[in-house]
């Protein structure tokens, strides 16, 4: 587990900053809810009247008057986009940063197989995502207790679970791409996360674009859907798991034979 521990040690500051930033935003969201609750009736009516703009963000199907409704959309955006950006950064840089910083030569001239490098690095990526999500969930629960709000535990769990699966999928896809690039892949990683996010917005705008939900992992993190169905849309998750596996398999195929320049 030498490489795994080394990876975690190297990324602890970045993980701490991302976790704090996302957790802080979530806490902020929870703390402002009591203030907003009194005005919620007007806001809900306003959102309902905004037509396709509301639909794009899933706000047409949700009741802002309840905490879970508010959390599902507002906090979902933070956890979804923030988590996806983090996942894409750790995924894309896992392998590429060693080549960019010319440390791959150091690592791969030690008696470690490429497969071991891949497994330990991937594990480090997943563990970072787990830590980020645990901190975020914990801070959310503490904030809820602090403001005296409660929500259906199962739905809260499903919301966080969907964000977690989505981040694992984004990280796996960018990890696969990471095996192909030698330079700084940060732009590619962030670009993919943002593209997937916008694909979901487009898919909410028109029925014709509904199929995009199969492509983007944001399709199954839609707070409005999860809250109203009390379930995650498994058909989208199934495709997501397929893409996740594809990213990992591609990384193994490519990196095992890759020339390290």
């Amino acid at each position: 587990m030498t490489i795994f521990l080394h990876e975690l040690k190297r990324s602890k500051i970045s993980l701490l900053i991302w976790s704090c930033a996302i957790a802080f935003m979530l806490a902020l969201c929870v703390f402002i809810y009591p203030e907003m609750k009194s005005q919620m009736d007007d806001i809900s009516t306003m959102f309902a009247d905004m037509g396709s703009f509301s639909a794009a963000f899933g706000m047409d199907k949700i009741n802002f008057g309840t905490f879970i409704g508010f959390f599902g959309v507002e906090c979902g955006e933070i956890m979804g986009l923030g988590g996806a950006l983090f996942a894409s950064i750790v995924g894309i840089s896992a392998l590429a940063k060693e080549e960019k910083e010319h440390t791959a030569e150091f690592l791969l001239t030690h008696p470690v197989s490429r497969e071991r490098v891949l497994i330990e690095k991937l594990l480090a990526v997943f563990v970072q995502i787990i830590i980020l999500n645990l901190i975020s969930a914990l801070v959310t629960v503490i904030s809820m207790l602090a403001v005296g709000e409660s929500a259906d535990a199962e739905i809260m769990f499903l919301l966080f679970l969907s964000y977690f699966i989505m981040q694992i999928e984004v990280a796996s896809i960018t990890f696969g791409i990471s095996a192909f690039i030698k330079g700084n892949g940060l732009g590619i990683g962030l670009g993919i996360a943002i593209l997937l996010y916008f694909l979901n917005i487009v898919s909410n705008l028109t029925e014709d674009a509904k199929f995009l939900k199969y492509i983007t992992p944001f399709g199954y993190t839609e707070g409005a859907e999860i809250i109203s169905n009390s379930a995650i849309e498994m058909k989208y998750v199934a495709v997501g798991i397929g893409l996740m596996a594809a990213g990992i398999v591609v990384a193994f195929i490519k990196y095992r034979k890759k020339d390290i320049g």
Binding site: T2, I3, H6, R10, E101, H102, T103, E105, F106, L107, L108, T109, H110, P111, V112, S113, K257, D259, I260, G261
Partner: protein
């Protein structure tokens, strides 16, 4: 068993040439120099031997193991120093040495300490604050601390001051006497001439010659110096003419009798004929095709 053996080892990067039909053979216990200018294919050969890049054609064995199939077994017995030693920014020298030892699954703290003392390396410094020479020292300790059977060193002395270069070669000579094999690439010919038993010269990705350093000096080319002379004999085979204050010197490759008969027509006070040094041998091989 050979320490390194390659047969027609070839690497192309797409269409561009890396190395072509490289045949090397090193006995265990050898001190072998690999000579060539930048871009000749030294690093490509080394990186192929270490499994960093896959050969396009040909085969190779290191310590009797196949370079493609047995990469891990090879690397566990090899100490490698890259030409540009790069480490993880922000880490301290001591942490890098420990990480390298852990990847080798050995505890070599005592050996690392001894090496750091001899090379005057401060283990508490951060690697990104180090000078090129000090980074090289970190690389040297990483390559030597686990006491491997074979040392593969790519341009090992670049960046080291002369005192450190001497200390480094003393370390290598000690390890070589203990039975380890040393394979180093360099374009500093004097150090190859001084320390190596055998050497190979590579040009444009191909091995031009591989032999003992002693034999490489006997190329059929002679360095002729004429004291008190102003002219040189006007015959074929004369090249690399240098005029100094009171003498003229040139390399001659050809029939010695022909040279002697032409020398009788020239005025000079004294003359010497010597084997050229390694620099001149190198230039001889490199100049062959150009001339």
């Amino acid at each position: 068993m050979k320490a390194i053996k390659t047969e027609n080892l070839t690497k192309f990067y797409g269409k561009s040439r890396g190395i072509t039909h490289v045949n090397l053979s090193l006995d265990e216990g050898d001190f072998f120099g690999f000579i060539g200018p930048n871009g000749a294919g030294k690093s490509t050969t080394i990186r192929t031997l270490l499994g960093l890049i896959s050969p396009t054609k040909g085969s190779g064995q290191v310590l009797g193991k196949d370079i493609v199939k047995d990469r891990i077994e090879i690397l566990s017995q090899v100490g490698y120093l890259p030409s540009e030693a790069v480490f993880y920014n922000g880490m301290r020298v001591g942490d890098i040495l420990t990480y390298s030892a852990k990847l080798h699954k050995t505890d070599c703290k005592d050996e690392a300490k001894k090496l750091c003392e001899r090379l005057e390396l401060d283990t508490s410094r951060r690697v990104d604050e180090l000078s090129l020479g000090n980074r090289k020292k970190v690389g040297i300790v990483c390559a030597l601390q686990h006491k491997p059977k074979l040392y593969i060193l790519d341009e090992p002395t670049s960046g080291l001051d002369p005192l450190m270069q001497r200390e480094f070669y003393e370390l290598l000579t000690e390890r070589n006497k203990e039975g380890a094999t040393v394979f180093l690439s360099s374009h500093v010919l004097s150090e190859i001439g001084r320390y190596c038993k055998h050497a190979a010269i590579i040009r444009d990705g191909e091995i031009l010659v591989s032999d003992s350093v002693e034999k490489l000096g006997h190329t059929g080319v002679k360095r002729v110096t004429l004291q008190g002379a102003e002219d040189i004999p006007q015959i074929d085979g004369v090249k690399n003419v240098t005029h100094e204050k009171d003498s003229v010197s040139f390399l001659y490759s050809g029939n010695p009798k022909n040279l002697l008969s032409h020398l009788t027509n020239i005025a000079f006070t004294d003359f010497t004929v010597t084997d050229p040094d390694l620099d001149e041998v190198f230039m001889h091989y490199y100049g062959k095709e150009d001339n």
